[in-house]
Symmetry: C2
Subunit: 305 residues, 2 copies
């Protein structure tokens, strides 16, 4: 039984295994073998909630577990993820902290990049320089042979630090640039991982054939990408259609013609619907964080660490 904390988790080391495990989980989802019930909240009056997401996968090596986090007032928050083997009742382990969630979101982005970006994609443009931007880039580098990265962040110091650290970590040229448009101009893959409530790029900034992951806000109230990007996309996919319908403020594509054509990533992974069909297809992946997938990633990490 393993107990891991943030300092035990190196995103670059575990990302490939996490992406493979999540791809298998999406295939299981398409086959109805993923257990991913709605979140469960318990309220503590005047304090906040404890929230539970439960997840599991049935099959040869069935897994079951949960993530628990709280919404109390405080600076430091620590999630708890636990995973059991559902066939033997063995507790595989516990992961505490914030990093597993970032690795999970990165790995979901990695599945989308693997499925939807051009096989020959070499260049990445990133908007954002936080933890999510890091794991998205690590995921892109895990599934595509990336040779060049341009990053833009509103805060120039963070932007430069991100470029230096990621260049060192991935051994890929990572260059800070002075505008979002410059970051994405030549990119085969665009990663948006901001907190912006307003679109950070225009459709005219990107080249045809690009694949875009959006990680940041995507409700009607605030969204880091606009309808113009959705309009140019041949394919729009998400990791959970259910969750796009469950936002407190509606999803940014609600009530548009895109709502009906949005695809579940699981159906593409399973081959039930086609992904990219041409080098000129523009593809858009809206990452919402399919509940229960932390359990899958945690299990993959326990198998390798």
């Amino acid at each position: 039984m393993k107990i891991l904390k943030d300092e035990d988790l190196c995103p670059a080391a575990v990302m490939r295994g996490a992406i493979d495990a999540l791809e298998a989980a999406f295939r299981a989802k398409a086959a109805g073998k993923l257990v991913s019930p709605p979140r469960h909240h318990v309220s503590f009056p005047d304090r906040g909630d404890i929230v539970f997401t439960v997840g599991g996968i049935d099959g040869e090596r069935p897994l079951a577990g949960f993530r628990a986090y709280e919404t109390f007032d405080g600076h430091q928050h620590s999630q708890v993820v636990a995973v059991w083997r559902a066939d033997t009742a063995e507790l595989q382990g516990i992961i505490l902290g914030e990093r597993l969630g970032q690795i999970r979101t990165g790995a979901i982005g990695g599945v989308a990049i693997r499925l939807l970006s051009a096989a020959a994609a070499r260049t990445v443009g990133i908007i954002g320089s936080g933890a999510q931007a890091r794991t998205q880039l690590i995921a892109a580098a895990a599934v595509r042979d990336i040779s060049s990265v341009h990053v833009f962040s509103r805060n120039p110091r963070n932007c430069v630090a991100f470029a230096e650290e990621m260049q060192l970590e991935l051994g890929i040229a990572v260059e800070p640039v002075t505008s979002a448009a410059k970051a994405v101009a030549n990119a085969d893959i665009v990663l948006c991982a901001t907190n912006s409530d307003r679109p950070v790029i225009d459709a005219s900034d990107v080249k045809a054939g690009v694949h875009i992951n959006t990680i940041g806000p995507k409700t009607l109230k605030g969204h880091e990408l606009g309808l113009d990007v959705a309009n140019m996309a041949s394919i729009i996919a998400t990791d959970s259609l259910e969750q796009t319908r469950a936002y407190a403020s509606p999803f940014f594509l609600s009530g548009t013609m895109h709502e009906e054509r949005m695809l579940d990533l699981a159906t593409i992974v399973a081959g039930h619907t086609a992904g990219r069909t041409s080098l000129l297809d523009t593809t858009l992946f809206c990452s919402v964080g399919l509940a229960g997938t932390e359990v899958i990633v945690a299990s993959a990490i326990f198998d390798t660490i």
Copy 2:
């Protein structure tokens, strides 16, 4: 942040603090400041459930946390308990394994013994020699000046081992005896912690003024004590009236005249109802395991370890 496993928990060392913490929790319960919502189950088809019990306490030093356990097929099971400070969001720690639950049940028994047994109680009779019998005896010794213990168990070898180990652990004379009636004949405090579906003692076996804790089965289908014992009791209390009404097979006192007079231990702790009023009162405590109390005990352990 602390992470503890079974081998880190010495019941005798932590019992007094656990009883004090639970007594405070019962006082909070009487004041409406204990958060103890119903259990929440998530099913994994053909495998079993993950079950969550959430608990917390409001006040000067608010706590919130949960216990999670599974019902999968397997020999070894490991519960997960996590506790946060609800005012700072600090994760106090995690406890893994089976022992915390036994300490918790022991400590609830200890609160009952403190509140209901005669202040001068010196002798204990125990039926049963398992983990629950051990923590009940440790709890009794934590709140009363016990000088002599008699134990009976159907398995003579377990009975002797229990006596030897507990005598060593508590520094009290613990004697194995050859019948349940002999174990309880002179006892001021009787602890029933068996798996028996049929009554293990008769009311005529115990002396007037005894306090009895029943930990084992107590449904109509199977119960380690019979109605005769309830009939002789001046006071019948339980840690959760709600849970006595929620058993799949009804509680063994359902439909009897005792159902209406059964007291919530919390109201006695808070002084809202009287406990023992005479040396000749026979008192009966039906331990059902108030949900959420593992969190309280875990927090008390983190405060001292």
